[in-house]
Symmetry: C2
Subunit: 188 residues, 2 copies
């Protein structure tokens, strides 16, 4: 990025999300995204491999946040609580960018191919969490189960958060969903 293209990546991202929301993901071209951002297609391809990548480039930082938070949880933290801390950190980040996250979700919900990609990303996140737990010394199957259960909690909290008339923030809903899971498994 040169000085003549301040925040080119952010501008391209915002332009892409606007266009995906306005006319749909499939109907939007890279040329249009670049034009809306006041940049060239060449600049677009310096930042993103393709127009789909604009929607999924955040996954890497989310994964990094999960892994770091898990690594930094106190040694004494139970696996499920270490996972909960990581989910809440991710939830807080998403809460800050709420409008962007909601717009992104609407774009994904409207396109089967993007939904598949989202499922793959989630499976990859679950693997990363399990791997981070193993590095904390958690054995299998506990590591895999805590990771999958954590993803279940996150998924349900996220669905509530994007749903209608939900006043609570995402970290709050994550805590609430985890408490609900604990109640469900205790009752069984």
């Amino acid at each position: 990025m040169g000085r003549w293209e301040p925040d080119a990546r952010g501008r391209l991202e915002r332009a892409a999300m606007e266009l995906y929301g306005e006319r749909g993901f499939e109907q939007t071209t890279v040329a249009e995204i670049a034009k809306r951002a006041g940049l060239t297609e060449r600049t677009f391809f310096r930042h993103f491999a393709d127009k789909r990548e604009v929607l999924f480039s955040g996954a890497a930082s989310l994964q990094q946040l999960f892994v770091t938070t898990l690594a930094e949880a106190p040694d004494t933290a139970a696996p499920i609580d270490a996972v909960a801390a990581a989910l809440e950190a991710a939830g807080a980040l998403m809460q800050e960018g709420r409008d962007r996250v909601l717009l992104r979700q609407a774009v994904i919900d409207a396109n089967a191919e993007l939904q598949e990609r989202e499922l793959i990303k989630q499976a990859f996140l679950a693997s990363s969490i399990a791997e981070a737990l193993r590095r904390r010394g958690v054995a299998d199957p506990a590591a895999g189960l805590a990771a999958e259960a954590g993803m279940a909690v996150f998924k349900i909290a996220f669905q509530r958060w994007v749903g209608p008339a939900e006043p609570r923030d995402l970290p709050d809903l994550i805590r609430d969903s985890l408490a609900e899971l604990k109640a469900l498994t205790a009752a069984g």
Copy 2:
């Protein structure tokens, strides 16, 4: 199916699985599957939309089994126990067809497109379980959470079952994984 094609569907399935295992999913054509089964392509397409469908046609009966078992669980069963009963029923069915399930899994593990399709199928199964729980009067978020937690338990049990040197059967591993999840969430 005419009388001159006894168990055409089963023969096509076995032929397809053999060929996918021998030469890979991508390298296998419908013509070859039909030939191996001693049937025509026309017959193949009376039973399956395409060669991918051979691998995923079992999903519908699995989903039906989940939904039926959930509906038939005693009214007094806690949501997580109703889900566990459904998972064990599915696990018993898969245990019976163990060789076929293992071969299918090896084919899927070798192909990214098939893995995506498998993830979609799993997401659909989770939705079906949540919906069946709602019909039992379980409210959200408990219905969604119990369904997702159940899928987590199933996934981990399945991974152990297909892993090396695992002598236990799938229903047993499902019970064990559920107990492990309960211990994990109780400790948190």
